[in-house]
């Protein structure tokens, strides 16, 4: 699966973003993390093969999350749907 890693000096938390390549809110989320120098990984779900898509779908639903983007997962436990700046900042503090 095509998982992209964006390096940053802030490695305090494990941050993963499920995104769509066309989505402006997803882009804002990626930019926000970059500006905060947070290291994170992301996957653009709309670009996945059918096989990988099925995997990602199962992954998201098994986390109890909805299939909405951006979906931000912090330390495998905090799940934030949408670019909720305050919530993301709070979880990264």
């Amino acid at each position: 699966m095509k998982i992209q890693r964006v390096s940053g000096n802030n490695k305090k938390h494990k941050v993963f973003v499920y995104a769509l390549s066309t989505c402006a809110w997803c882009k804002k989320t990626k930019q926000f993390l970059k500006d905060k120098d947070v290291e994170y990984e992301y996957v653009d779900v709309d670009l996945l093969s059918k096989e990988d898509l099925e995997k990602v779908k199962a992954e998201i639903t098994s986390r109890g999350a909805q299939l909405l983007f951006p979906l931000i997962v912090i330390d495998d436990k905090v799940i934030i749907t949408g670019f909720r700046e305050d919530q993301i900042s709070g979880a990264l503090a």
Binding site: L20, S21, T22, C23, A24, W25, C26, K27, K28, V45, D46, K50, L53, E54, K57, Q66, L67, L68, F69, G82, F83, R84
Partner: protein, 168 residues
């Protein structure tokens, strides 16, 4: 676009707006229609119909949250900076979202067959709805949230029962 005449404005943030328009353009090229850049599209017209821009959820989302789901259309208040642009909760029924995902993951070999099945499944669930206030008619699984013509609320929509009789 009918944005201005209906009291909608486009997102005033130039780079945000540009990203949205790029996303719409990509989807237009990819699927043949401009489906919402911030929603997962099945790539099958019948399954994506409600999220083709301007989507079925725009009017009510702009009214309630000051912008549509992706942020392309905003209210006057948001445009003028009197209200902050915020992510909008997804109103699209989760069964439609589920359907978009499973629409795509069928194995390549049976895809065409499955596609036909899916389309007939969706079309089979569609009904005609008319606005009791202005007469606008929509062919959808659910009635519109707001009448796009006269702005009447969902309660003003009634199902049209069509009966066809053959006379010899």
């Amino acid at each position: 676009m009918d944005a201005e005449s209906r009291g909608y404005k486009l997102n005033p943030d130039a780079s945000f707006l540009n990203d949205l328009l790029e996303g719409l353009k990509t989807n237009e090229e990819r699927y043949g229609y401009p489906s919402c850049p911030c929603r997962y599209a099945a790539g099958i017209f019948e399954l994506d119909k409600d999220i083709i821009c301007p989507c079925d959820y725009r009017d009510i989302d702009v009214e309630e949250f000051g912008s549509c789901y992706c942020g392309l259309f905003v209210s006057k208040e948001v445009y003028e900076g009197k209200r902050k642009l915020q992510p909008v909760p997804e109103r699209r029924p989760s069964k439609f979202i589920e359907r978009a995902f499973s629409g795509r993951i069928t194995p390549e070999t049976t895809q065409e067959v499955r596609k036909e099945e899916r389309i007939s499944e969706v079309v089979g669930g569609m009904k005609f709805w008319y606005c009791k206030q202005c007469g606008y008619v929509a062919f959808r699984e659910e009635p519109p949230y707001i009448c796009p013509i006269c702005k009447a609320k969902r309660e003003f929509f009634a199902e049209i029962n069509l009966s066809v009789s053959a006379r010899g």
